[in-house]
């Protein structure tokens, strides 16, 4: 009995030691997509389509930041950092400065990375995935150039807005070429990509004051063309919904300013929600342009192309197109006829119509930078902010590059 007991104990101890050794260190973590399990080349189309959705997210998620900065909308939130953006006194260290930047840069990077993979493919010349990636990268570049005082590409050195626009133009040209070839090869989306890229080319050219180029590219866009950021009302995928709507509806965060409410224009839809905004100081005048997660947001259109063409021609001394467009748009929106005759008055009216037409579509800030005197409804530097307790509007005309980029990008000079 005693011997048996000893044998049992020794066997137990030996087996214990073996058991501990046998407890291997392998673990599984199925919640992680290990890069080693993914084939970037074989799955490039997926990368391209996900990158396109990154652009949609960036566009709908940046629009309200651009709107706050350009006084298209008032931050109804209590958050100080958001109000500092609206007041145009935010610095690189103001964390909210980085929100739109992060979205737009992720869109740019993922579309550029997808393009870099796809361009090596056998059907690169007419690959619709490649054309789409060029187009989305181009729009991302334009939006960065119009929103921020500087930009960069894939952790590169700082670029001026003009350089960013040049980069956008390069991508849009490729988007037009490959998109058209894809259409010829049977990809229905190819025509849309080519047209949208032409609007992008026209917009970038206009922002660079290349009026001839702007007119030329704008003329290539069909009048009825519309390219929307597609969104969806899917509780499981809220990031794919309209982020401007989501931001507003969550906490009564976007307030329509007095100047826009006073327009009484169907292109600037709003309602008095009969309650306070989140900050309780402002009445919650709710925007009704984006009324659901699935409401699409217009990125580019034939209408925009006609505005670009009209402005480009006006800037070169030909006001006919501008006057025609103004007359058409005023009539369509129950406004009396325009009576101005001087170039300045016509430009101001054209900018006014643009402000209404593309309200909260991320164009007003570019308009103001391009035509600061003629662009209406932007809070003047030194005038009281919408919430007087906060102080006056600052002098900034673009958002500073956020500290998150400056600190982590070795090519950015550190102050």
């Amino acid at each position: 009995m005693i011997i048996a007991s000893r044998v049992m104990r020794r066997a137990a101890l030996a087996t214990t030691a073996l058991a501990l050794v046998a407890c291997n260190m392998d673990v599984v973590n199925p919640g992680v997509i290990d890069a080693s399990q993914f084939n970037p080349s074989g799955d490039a189309a997926t990368l391209s389509l996900s990158a396109q959705s990154n652009f949609y997210k960036a566009f709908t998620g940046s629009a309200y930041w651009s709107a706050f900065f350009s006084s298209e909308a008032v931050p109804g939130v209590v958050r100080q950092e958001t109000n500092d953006v609206g007041r145009r006194v935010a610095t690189s260290a103001t964390s909210d400065v980085g929100n739109a930047w992060a979205l737009l840069q992720r869109s740019l990077a993922t579309n550029d990375l997808a393009a870099a993979t796809l361009v090596k493919g056998p059907s690169a010349a007419n690959d619709i995935n490649l054309a789409r990636a060029y187009m989305n990268a181009g729009f991302s570049l334009i939006l960065i150039a119009e929103t921020y005082c500087q930009g960069d590409i894939l952790v590169g050195p700082p670029l001026t807005p003009a350089q960013m626009l040049d980069s956008a133009i390069a991508r849009f040209k490729l988007g037009v070429t490959v998109g058209a070839a894809a259409a010829t090869a049977g990809a229905v989306e190819g025509t849309k990509v080519a047209s949208a890229s032409n609007v992008g080319l026209a917009r970038a050219s206009l922002q660079k004051k290349d009026y001839a180029g702007a007119s030329t590219y704008a003329a290539l866009v069909p009048a009825a063309f519309v390219f929307n950021a597609v969104t969806v009302d899917d509780a499981s995928n809220r990031a794919l919904g309209n982020s401007t709507y989501a931001f507003d509806i969550g906490s009564n965060s976007i307030v329509v300013p007095d100047a826009y409410r006073a327009l009484n224009d169907p292109r600037v839809p709003w309602k008095d929600a009969l309650k306070k905004a989140q900050d309780t100081g402002l009445e919650y005048y709710q925007q009704l342009k984006y009324t659901g997660y699935a409401t699409p947001m217009r990125v580019a259109s034939g209408l925009e192309a006609s505005y670009i063409a009209a402005e480009a021609q006006l800037q070169t001394g030909n006001s006919a197109a501008a006057l025609t467009l103004i007359a058409t748009r005023r009539a369509a929106n129950a406004q009396p006829a325009f009576t101005g005759t001087t170039p300045a008055a016509i430009l101001a009216e054209l900018m006014d119509q643009r402000a209404r037409e593309f309200w909260m579509e991320m164009k007003h800030l570019g308009d103001w930078q391009r035509n600061p005197a003629a662009t209406p409804y932007v809070g003047a530097a030194g005038s009281p902010y919408f919430k007087p307790v906060q102080g006056n509007f600052g002098t900034a005309t673009c958002l500073p590059v956020p500290a998150s980029e400056i600190a982590a990008n070795p090519n950015f000079p550190k102050v």
Binding site: I33, S53, S236
Partner: protein
């Protein structure tokens, strides 16, 4: 699914081994009791005070028991007549040995114990390879006498048990809500990216600790996993403060280790003692909500037809006020009711401890309620003289409800204190007032209708086998598990009144099923050899291994758009969504240590642990953790003793060096893609991916390297004791989240080992019993510590300021507040000039902490106990005041004239601005200009006061009880502070960064008054 098989296989196998070992015991070796003797008596102090919870044993017969509150013990022994020795130990007293002669019948043996302020004879089980006396332990392992504290103070959870008891162990409560999380920092914080929570073990088995979230969140508030423990089940708590002592716990113990030792049964007592405790606490909110002010500044507000009744008919410019929280009686007295039962006993070769408790606590707001029921069964069995087994299981069922708090959209505090009385208070029925909240649609009804519930089942089974095949070779095998299953639910009811925003208003249900499993297998062998003439050299060679497997899963589902509130399952929602997470980590360590003792007073210790962890990168080598230490009780050295002054009774010097680590998350090494579904033009969602983290294949754990040294001195026969320890801890290879430029396209940052943080400080402890007379005893303890923390290097990571105005840069304290500092105020130009860039204006970590606790005992049976504690030299962001002053503009200070409490012009500009940079005169936003709201948090708090009356033995006998005591007292009686908010202790938002200390409309700590009855049978 094969993912649980390795763990399951190991545990099943090892438990099977335990069974084999148990089965193999020699039943014939069990002693059989024949005629018996009863050894009974009373253990008292020199002053005659009964000493409760003293361990009384007769080593020669392997019998032991504990004294009750009256100091009385009883042992049933085999009646083999002969000389025996009664050995009595108790924390805070010198061990007592009383020789006596054992004979049949009843033998009375009383013991008198001398108080000692030093406990060098105390056995320490944590941070050592095998149990050893404290005097052999070179690094500090603090011991909290849990049973003593629970007996005299109102302790409702383990965190209160540890609060301000030990220098260098800092606890911070998230808020005054019942059940709110408590953060534990041991010797400061050192990690930026990883948790600073210490590891927690219960009887050698790793357990979950730290915060426990609720689905959907309640505004920065979480529950605390350690609250699952019943404080009454705890015998003592050992705290290993840093790497010098924590080396044996491996690559995850850099933040320290807490070992909870539960009460055990006693073998040989042949008796069954029971304890019944009931306690009632009254919980006072301990604050008055702030009154909101506003100005009737428009004609519409004062017009006769105005709905804003505070302004109707008033003159323009009239300041009106309202206290919506007070008006609606949002905060009321809460209560707690505790009922605890425990039984302890044993037979010839076994002992047991069982307990059950029920704790109900109603917080000070509706929707804050805790219902905890716990049970514990500890069983120890001496199979034969060579082998014993301890088995235990702890069970907790916790049903916790937390109300929305802090910065949550539906928080009572935020909505109540950010309201605008001039424009939002309207007439209610019967001439009353309604409104006044931040959100127009908020009311007590709407907030209290939101439910946040967690139902937790927490089980901690464990078994420890002690086996000594020969006298000099001992083995200990511990196996255990920690299972936690939490069912969380948050519901926003469907309503037609627009109570909530967006889809929440259509009715929303969030449920979360969380499962956490931790397996521990720990083996330790020890070979002791006596060498030299007379065995004056003792060699202790220890070796062992520790394996821990952790698996966490969570399944979350949300349903929105309910048809009726009665049908409120997730599947009742019009739209539903679900998500799931799974994480696993394993660690395996091998331990070796040699300790050499000379004459039982000089000890040298060398050891090491090597670790592997599933989270280490594929390129990372095995983690090697060395340790060394020396301790010398000089006062026991005859050659030195004669030179020591007579008042110096004990003097020991000690020094230790050790390393340990802090592991990254299980997948930190991997390059990943993140889920990035895309939309087709037709609006169809299709699975897709985008770059996630670039990963880091070279990742390894943070390495904590610590050296500590100090001395322990006992004066006047150890009536007074003083301990001083200096420590210097450097956290190397600090894991920093390498900021990735957004333009890289990656969505998350990899962790890299490049930082270094230094923590240095002094810890002092003074304990004394100045008076120990028959009818009056007074003892006190004073503890204090300093802490200096700074970032040494951040490698290639550029210094940065977080979104919470906290900066991380070399030379500056971890998470120091960095804001635009006000340099001067120009009352003529009405501007505040600030620094051109954000600068550090103070740290958020207290640099000094101190506590004083004292006990006076009158007439042997009446005990008065008090504790004061404080933290000093740190700053808190008073976000509550910031937002009331500058965003809501509804504070008294910004609305009232100077003479009535308003700010002076200078102060107003300093706080409200406008702010411009000094050099360029550029406008600075309020989000950076928060200098005036970073305020000192220095405080001293009258923490505990209690009066306990212990029933005299003769009265107890007349009442046919073994002992009884009645206690009354209070907790959080008074606060002295420089802080201009409500409570400088609360951290406000424990979901944010580790170092964040802010008052974010945070509930202050409550005041509790309690009464407790304790009966022993």
């Amino acid at each position: 699914m094969n993912r649980t098989r390795p763990a399951g296989r190991c545990v099943a196998l090892l438990f099977a081994l335990a069974m084999m070992l148990g089965v193999s015991t020699n039943a014939a070796a069990l002693q059989q009791r024949a005629d018996s003797a009863t050894v009974t008596g009373r253990v008292t102090s020199e002053g005659g005070l009964p000493i409760a919870s003293a361990v009384v044993s007769i080593p020669g017969l392997r019998l032991s028991t504990q004294t009750n509150d009256a100091g009385v013990y009883r042992l049933l022994a085999p009646a083999a007549a002969g000389a025996e020795t009664l050995h009595v130990t108790r924390l805070g007293y010198r061990p007592a040995n009383v020789p006596f002669t054992l004979s049949t019948g009843q033998v009375t043996v009383n013991a008198v114990m001398a108080t000692t302020a030093l406990s060098l004879d105390q056995i320490v089980v944590t941070g050592t390879a095998g149990n050893q006396e404290a005097k052999a332990q070179a690094a500090v392992v603090a011991t909290i006498d849990a049973s003593d504290i629970v007996a005299k103070a109102s302790i409702l959870n383990i965190n209160e048990l540890m609060y301000a008891r030990t220098p260098g162990v800092s606890l911070t409560v998230a808020s005054g809500a019942s059940g709110a999380n408590t953060r534990i920092d041991i010797r400061g914080q050192a990690s930026i990216s990883l948790s600073n929570n210490p590891l927690v073990f219960i009887d050698g088995v790793r357990t979950v600790s730290g915060s426990r979230g609720t689905p959907g969140g309640v505004g920065g508030q979480t529950l605390n996993a350690l609250d699952d423990l019943n404080p009454d089940d705890i015998e003592s708590i050992e705290i290993v403060k840093g790497p010098a002592a924590a080396t044996l716990y491996g690559a995850d113990a850099s933040a320290g280790v807490i070992q909870v030792l539960t009460k055990k049964g006693k073998t040989g007592v042949h008796r069954f003692s029971q304890r019944l405790t009931t306690e009632y606490d009254n919980i006072d909110p301990n604050f008055t909500p702030s009154t909101n002010y506003g100005v009737c500044n428009t004609a519409a507000l004062i017009a006769p037809a105005s709905k804003n009744i505070l302004c109707t008919g008033k003159a323009l410019g009239t300041v009106v006020s309202d206290n919506v929280l007070l008006r609606n009686s949002v905060f009321n007295n809460g209560w707690a009711g505790v009922l605890q039962y425990s039984a302890q006993g044993g037979g010839d070769n076994f002992g047991y401890y069982i307990s059950a408790s029920s704790n109900n606590e109603q917080g000070t707001t509706a929707g804050n309620f805790l219902n905890h029921r716990t049970g514990r069964a500890n069983f120890n069995w001496v199979a034969n003289p060579k082998m014993s087994v301890d088995a235990s299981v702890g069970l907790t069922r916790a049903d916790d409800k937390l109300a929305k708090g802090d910065q949550d959209t539906y928080s009572y505090m935020l909505n109540g204190e950010w309201g605008q009385p001039a424009s939002s208070v309207t007439a209610g029925p019967n001439g009353g007032m309604i409104g006044g909240w931040l959100n127009n649609n908020i009311s007590v009804l709407s907030v209290s209708a939101i439910t946040n519930e967690d139902a937790t089942i927490h089980a901690t089974p464990s078994a420890t086998l002690h086996y000594a095949p020969i006298s000099w070779f001992t083995n200990r095998l511990t196996m255990g598990a920690d299972y936690t299953r939490i069912s969380g639910n948050q519901t926003y009811p469907l309503n037609s009144l627009g109570w909530y925003s967006g889809t929440q208003n259509t009715g929303s249900v969030s449920v979360q099923e969380t499962n956490s499993t931790l397996y521990t297998v720990d083996y330790l062998g020890n070979i002791t050899q006596r060498l030299g003439h007379g065995g004056w050299i003792v060699s202790d060679l220890s070796f062992g291994t520790q394996w821990i497997n952790s698996v966490q899963t969570a399944l979350t589902a949300v349903g929105t758009g309910l048809t009726t509130n009665a049908s409120n399952l997730v599947s009742s929602g019009t739209t539903t969504a679900a998500s799931q997470s799974y994480g696993q980590a394993k660690s395996l360590g091998y331990i070796g240590q040699e300790q050499i003792g000379f004459n039982d007073r000089l000890f040298l210790q060398f050891g090491a642990r090597v670790d592997r962890n599933s989270a280490f990168g594929s390129s990372a080598p095995t983690f090697f953790l060395p340790k060394a230490g020396v301790t010398y009780t000089m006062s026991e050295e005859p050659a030195i003793q004669r030179h020591l002054p007579s008042f110096l009774s004990t003097f020991r010097v000690r020094g230790a060096y050790g390393t340990t680590g802090r592991s990254p998350s299980a997948t930190a090494a991997l390059q990943t893609y993140s889920k990035s579904p895309y939309l087709t033009d037709a609006g169809v969602v299709v699975p897709g991916v985008s770059p996630g983290s670039p990963g880091n294949p070279d990742i390894k754990p943070e390495r904590g390297v610590e050296a500590e040294g100090g001395f322990d001195a006992g004066f006047f026969h150890d009536r007074a004791g003083f301990e001083l320890t200096y420590f210097s801890k450097t956290s190397k290879d600090l894991l920093l989240s390498l900021p990735i430029a957004p333009s890289s396209g990656f969505s998350s940052s990899p962790l890299v080992n490049i930082g270094e943080v230094s923590n240095k400080g002094l810890e002092m402890s003074l304990r004394a019993t100045p008076i120990d007379r028959k009818n009056f005893t007074w003892d006190f303890g004073l503890t204090t510590n300093t802490l200096s923390n700074r970032i040494v290097t951040m490698g290639t990571v550029t210094p940065f300021v977080s979104g919470n105005n906290q900066c991380f840069k070399p030379g500056v304290e971890l998470g120091a507040w960095c804001v635009s500092h006000v340099l001067r105020v120009d009352t003529v130009a009405k501007k505040a000039f600030v620094t051109d860039t954000a600068v550090a204006v103070g740290g958020s970590i207290p640099h000094y902490e101190s506590a004083l606790h004292t006990t006076m005992t009158l007439f042997r049976n009446v005990r008065l106990y008090a504790q004061f504690d404080g933290k000093f030299d740190y700053k808190i962001y008073n976000l509550t005041r910031d937002f009331r002053d500058r965003t809501q503009k509804n504070s008294a200070e910004v609305n009232l004239p100077v003479g009535q409490g308003g700010y002076s012009l200078d102060e107003s500009i300093r706080r409200i601005g406008p702010f411009v940079t000094t050099t360029a005169g550029t406008a600075v936003g309020n989000s950076l200009a928060r200098d005036a709201y970073m305020v000192s948090g220095d405080y001293v708090r009258f923490r505990e006061l209690s009066l306990t009356w212990t029933l005299p033995t003769n009265m107890a006998q007349r009442l046919r009880v073994a002992g009884s005591s009645v206690s009354v007292g209070a907790r959080n009686l008074h606060l002295w502070t420089k802080f201009d908010g409500r409570d400088p202790e609360v951290s406000g938002a424990d979901g944010l960064t580790n170092q964040f200390r802010a008052d974010v409309e945070t509930l202050p700590q409550v005041r509790r008054v309690f009464a407790r009855l304790n009966l022993q049978f």
